[in-house]
């Protein structure tokens, strides 16, 4: 059981229960249950085909759930009026190629009911935010892929929406662009927006998200604050004079594995390192190096997904909450 999130889930921005989506004979979502608090930067992770984009489409009303349901900003999934308060950058970001960038934003301003007099200023402000201020009058067709993704981000942030759903927002950006987007996401979060970040760039998620959910086979396999999901610490010791038969003696500290002269114990509370070292020395081992560390998100992600797929290929029913 992971610790309670930092932000309150009393009035969640997103709250879905047992959401299921079937395409023919394929279960894209097989009972997804999760809540995202208001004001959170929430990372949504999963391997290809896990159901991430399907979830986003259900949240926005672009697809309908086969069963289950939930709410977004307090309204049922797909509620028309609520969409005024949601900004969305699709994974497939395409905008009218014949329109100038500013006009694309003004069109979206009109669609969300922004007063006519505010649209141009809001469009220019959003373009400035994503670094496209000097290209406002250029048609979208002339934009590079990265610029179109920036434009999509501007569209998503237009009018300061309460919920911003970003589906792979940096897939077409260079490293500098990615850093800038992380800043933009944090800036939006600072003004109180909830950010739902669908990404497979683990480093990106690790750097900007307050909480994450990992999904596989259409179900949440782990959800919680980043530190809690990553909370599995490990201790690696380089020692001589150890044999496989000695491992039983250190199992009290965690699950040990020995490769050559490297002993790794995971998970293990770092506070217990002196006791472990004392035990090993008592067994006659000679300690050359001790290193404690936290599992990387990448490693934890692989573990969670592997855990969800036992050898027979059937997804595990265990859901970490």
């Amino acid at each position: 059981m992971l610790a309670m999130p930092r932000l309150s889930l009393d009035l969640p921005a997103i709250d879905v229960t047992d959401l299921q989506k079937r395409y023919g004979r394929i279960d894209a979502l097989a009972g997804l249950t999760m809540a995202v608090g208001r004001g959170e930067v929430f990372g949504f992770l999963g391997p290809n085909g896990a159901g991430k984009t399907t979830t986003v489409k259900l949240l926005l009303g672009l697809a309908r759930p086969t069963s289950g349901g939930g709410s977004v900003l307090g309204a049922p999934l797909g509620d028309l009026a609520t969409r005024r308060k949601i900004g969305y950058l699709p994974e497939l970001f395409r905008y009218q190629p014949w329109l100038p960038a500013r006009d694309v934003l003004m069109l979206h301003g009109q669609l969300i009911g922004m007063p006519r007099g505010r649209r141009r200023a809001a469009a220019d402000e959003a373009l400035g935010l994503v670094g496209l201020a000097d290209r406002a009058g250029d048609t979208v067709g002339k934009f590079s892929k990265g610029m179109q993704q920036r434009l999509g981000l501007a569209v998503a942030l237009l009018g300061e929406p309460a919920l911003v759903v970003l589906d792979e927002p940096t897939s077409a950006l260079d490293p500098i662009g990615r850093v800038e987007v992380r800043g933009i996401i944090r800036q939006a979060a600072d003004r109180g927006a909830t950010i739902f970040l669908n990404s497979h760039l683990l480093s990106e998620v690790e750097q900007v998200c307050d909480r994450i959910a990992v999904i596989d086979h259409g179900r949440v396999v782990a959800i919680g604050e980043l530190d809690d999901v990553l909370g599995v610490s490990e201790t690696e010791i380089r020692a001589s004079g150890l044999a496989a038969a000695d491992l039983a003696a250190v199992e009290a500290f965690g699950s040990p594995s020995l490769t050559g002269d490297r002993l790794v114990i995971r998970p293990m509370n770092p506070e217990r390192v002196p006791d472990l070292v004392a035990t090993l020395v008592g067994m006659g081992a000679r300690i050359h190096e001790v290193r404690t560390g936290r599992t990387s998100l990448e490693q934890r992600f692989i573990e969670l997904v592997a855990q969800d797929r036992p050898p027979d290929g059937t997804p595990s029913a265990t859901v970490l909450r």
């Binding site: 489409k57 697809a63 028309l80 969409r83 005024r84 699709p90 497939l92 009218q96 979206h108 669609l111």
Partner: protein, 281 residues
């Protein structure tokens, strides 16, 4: 809906193909005007009667209308078939429909925008052709707006069909099916005329059924009727030659079939909306 209609008009206006079509229409009007003037000049020199000349001019106008009608139908298919399918394929629709925009408003907005473009094109090119021929020949159909309205109606019927197909089929497939359906409906109309001339009720029934399924041919009959001078209708209306001629109409389309065409368009748009609502994006 109005936002999407304006967006669609703007999109069409920026497409080169529309302006190429406008340019071709102007060239066609110019060539036709020159042709009619030359023909009249030749006819008068050869001593052809004025009545025969007027008949000839009215028939030329009908042929021009047939050509314009075909161009309009192709324009409707060309613009209508990617209207929804193209936006879905490109992904443009995802950003739009994630906004507080009903799918029905989006679809009807797309249809309305294209309908305005097509009606505008039909009215301008049609009236220009009638006016130009009037200037050189002195012949003007009894009510110039009537044939143009039917010409536009024919294109609107086909546009509605392509928009319906566009909710389910890729652009090229939808456009091709719509054009083939139009061709078949026209052929059924021709067969119906032949059936009338030789008294075969089966062929007449086939044409009637075809007009109910796709009322483009009924609209075409309205175009032909509207371009004919009254004396032609009186002279050959009730003869086998008149009844069997696909470029002649003794009567305008009945009010019932015109009303059916309107209902048909509404039903097709309702069907299209229902298809789009059910479509997973």
């Amino acid at each position: 809906m109005i936002t999407i209609a304006w967006l669609t008009i703007g999109e069409a206006a920026r497409r080169r193909v529309l302006w190429v079509l406008v340019a071709l229409a102007l060239v066609a009007v110019a060539l036709t005007t020159w042709g009619v003037a030359s023909l009249l000049d030749l006819g008068r020199r050869e001593g052809v009667s004025e009545l025969q000349l007027r008949l000839g001019v009215s028939q030329i106008l009908i042929f021009i209308a047939f050509m314009f009608g075909f161009v309009l139908v192709m324009t409707a298919a060309f613009f209508g078939s990617p209207a929804i399918a193209g936006d879905i394929e490109s992904g443009i629709v995802q950003a739009l429909l994630a906004r507080p925009l009903r799918r029905s408003s989006y679809l009807v907005g797309r249809w309305l925008g294209l309908a305005i473009v097509i009606v505008g094109y039909a009215v301008l090119s049609g009236l220009l052709a009638i006016f130009a021929v009037d200037v050189v020949s002195g012949y003007r159909p009894p009510n110039a707006l009537l044939p143009v309205a039917y010409l536009a109606g024919q294109a609107i019927v086909l546009l509605s069909l392509t928009v319906l197909l566009s909710t389910r089929l890729p652009p090229i497939a939808g456009g091709a099916i719509a054009v083939v359906a139009y061709g078949l409906a026209w052929m059924a109309g021709v067969l119906g005329k032949i059936g009338l001339a030789i008294g075969t009720s089966g062929l007449v029934g086939l044409a009637d059924a075809s007009r109910l399924l796709l009322p483009t041919d009924a609209m075409w009959q309205g175009v032909v009727y509207g371009l004919e001078p009254a004396f032609v209708i009186d002279a050959i209306g009730d003869t086998p030659a008149g009844r069997g001629n696909p470029f002649f109409a003794e009567t305008p389309p009945s009010p019932e079939i015109v009303a059916w065409a309107v209902v048909w368009v509404v039903v097709v748009l309702v069907l299209a909306t229902s298809q789009l609502r059910r479509r997973e994006l």
